[in-house]
Symmetry: C2
Subunit: 105 residues, 2 copies
Amino acid sequence: MPTIKNVELTKKANIYFDGKVTSRGFVDENGVKKSLGIMMPGEYTFGTNEAEHMEIISGKVEILIACGDSNWETINGGEYFEVPANCSFEIKVLEITDYCCTYIA
Amino acid sequence: MPTIKNVELTKKANIYFDGKVTSRGFVDENGVKKSLGIMMPGEYTFGTNEAEHMEIISGKVEILIACGDSNWETINGGEYFEVPANCSFEIKVLEITDYCCTYIA
């Protein structure tokens, strides 16, 4: 199974929407801030500070990025989407979804 | 916030009980196998292969260890319990619970 080496892992979980979305923050060996998270089926809105690269490890979501002229897009396991800084996105989680978020400084 | 340095983090999540319990496995710098996980309120039974040291980072649970003569015990955030190898335990999760499991080889 793929692993990420030489990571500094934050012990305390990030818990959002009453536990329907949770994640673990870490910094990789290049100093890049990331998180690995789980989203339960449901609809959520997230705001971004830095730009974000959202890799869907497994699961299925639909997303609508608030800034710019975008439409609802389906993202499956193995695919990704990106959200600009200081923006927000709506997400419909259709199946339990495992993701990796990279914060693009 | 406390972090764990020089970790090898498994990217894919462990998902149990339809997502009510999820965790991320990792190996620490001493080669010890661990996982950081979240349990949603509910009642679950887990079996052990290796012995396990279960640190409750935050939350509240009640546990009953199957082997040996034990009674239900309440474990709060900041406390821990241990389960022998090849045993099982019942757990009543009273609040969203963040935990760190160390597998004792």
